[in-house]
Symmetry: C2
Subunit: 219 residues, 2 copies
């Protein structure tokens, strides 16, 4: 790659990080906790959010729903009474902080709120960009196979919280749990991993307990 | 985005397309048919290739295995006697034609061969780049949900052949087949869709029959 192209890419990251810090500061002033939700297409990001949000007692949830096209998930969330705003990137493979800075203007945040930013379904590009979040939550699924931490290391390395979703499918799939965990631990000793099923709700009580502790000890 | 950045992106596409045409010409001279294999992480790209390759009688198969990191799939393919070369992008979210132009130098192609290029597991970025292929084959899976054509339209729009994999999981998953097909047809009237299971092998006889007809009528 030419020196000129490398400089422009570095410039994009630098600009992104400055705005991400601004977004994070604004959310802190409003006492809003922000979670960047990443995962492959179809890992179960939205259905996991539904399970988490219905267990979040005493806090208002807000969702920025990132998609290349469509508003299927936003419609679903609004039907459940969740304040959700659609972001359509029209092709772009990840969300960046400039998009988030503009989108959050659409919310009238209450104190002690939780903002979930559902990133584009992509196990590669979103992990490269901070967007103002306090933590990154990665949704993976048993259906994707146990080798994913080895093949897509950055997403697993950057995640604070990892949900292994679709645990209800385990009887029908070959999934080597030890190999999966070993791959994560080699990249990221600090990540917390929960096995969940967004279909049955199993495991989400523990996830929300963990999130509540994390939020209360933020500062 | 600045005018300068847009020009550089256009420049990247233009350079890529010129080299892709060169690669395609070179493969034609060697009578090698090239399939760009796309799909989400864990859709079953490699296991589908295994099912296809063992049914390809009278042709030698070659695989360029694209991954960000690891060589898990290349080791698997070589154990099965398949000529496979690993490409590690070290972070890049798609393969481009320059990478392919260099990588195919590693093969000593026989006439009537079939080259499968397994792209990075990503339902977004690979669809934007031609890499010398004759057709694009998209591997999707019932575990990803039936809304994927609506959320990731470009990959479905560009595909010539779409495999709906993991059909063996259908009894345990809510998957709206009509909604899925309707989404594809709205984007791409010409795509052929086969329901398959790379686990059981179901459906792959028809896939290979289709591929053989496509190859024989190429010119």
């Amino acid at each position: 790659m030419s020196k000129e192209k490398i400089e422009i890419i570095e410039d994009i990251y630098k600009e992104n990080n400055i705005i991400a810090d601004k977004v994070n500061k604004e959310l802190n002033e409003k006492h809003v906790y922000c979670i960047n939700v990443m995962g492959s297409p179809g890992a179960g990001k939205t259905s996991s959010l539904v399970q988490i949000i219905k267990r979040l007692t005493g806090s208002t949830a807000y969702v920025l729903e990132g998609d290349i096209e469509s508003d299927i998930d936003t419609i679903l969330l609004r039907k459940l009474g969740v304040e959700a705003i659609q972001i359509n990137t029209g092709g772009a493979c990840h969300l960046d902080s400039l998009v988030i800075e503009n989108a959050i203007k659409g919310f009238n945040f209450k104190e002690n709120g939780v903002l979930f930013i559902e990133n584009i379904g992509n196990l590669v590009c979103p992990a490269e960009f901070i967007i103002g979040e306090h933590i990154k939550m990665l949704i993976s699924s048993v259906a994707e196979g146990s080798d994913k931490p080895y093949k897509y290391p950055l997403a697993f390395e950057k995640a604070d919280l990892i949900l292994l979703n679709k645990a209800d499918l385990k009887p029908y799939i070959e999934f080597d749990y030890d190999f999966y965990i070993q791959g994560i631990k080699a990249l990221n000793k600090d990540a917390t991993v929960f096995e969940v099923s967004a279909k049955t709700g199993d495991g989400f009580d523990e996830v929300v307990k963990w999130l509540n502790i994390k939020r209360s000890t933020k500062n």
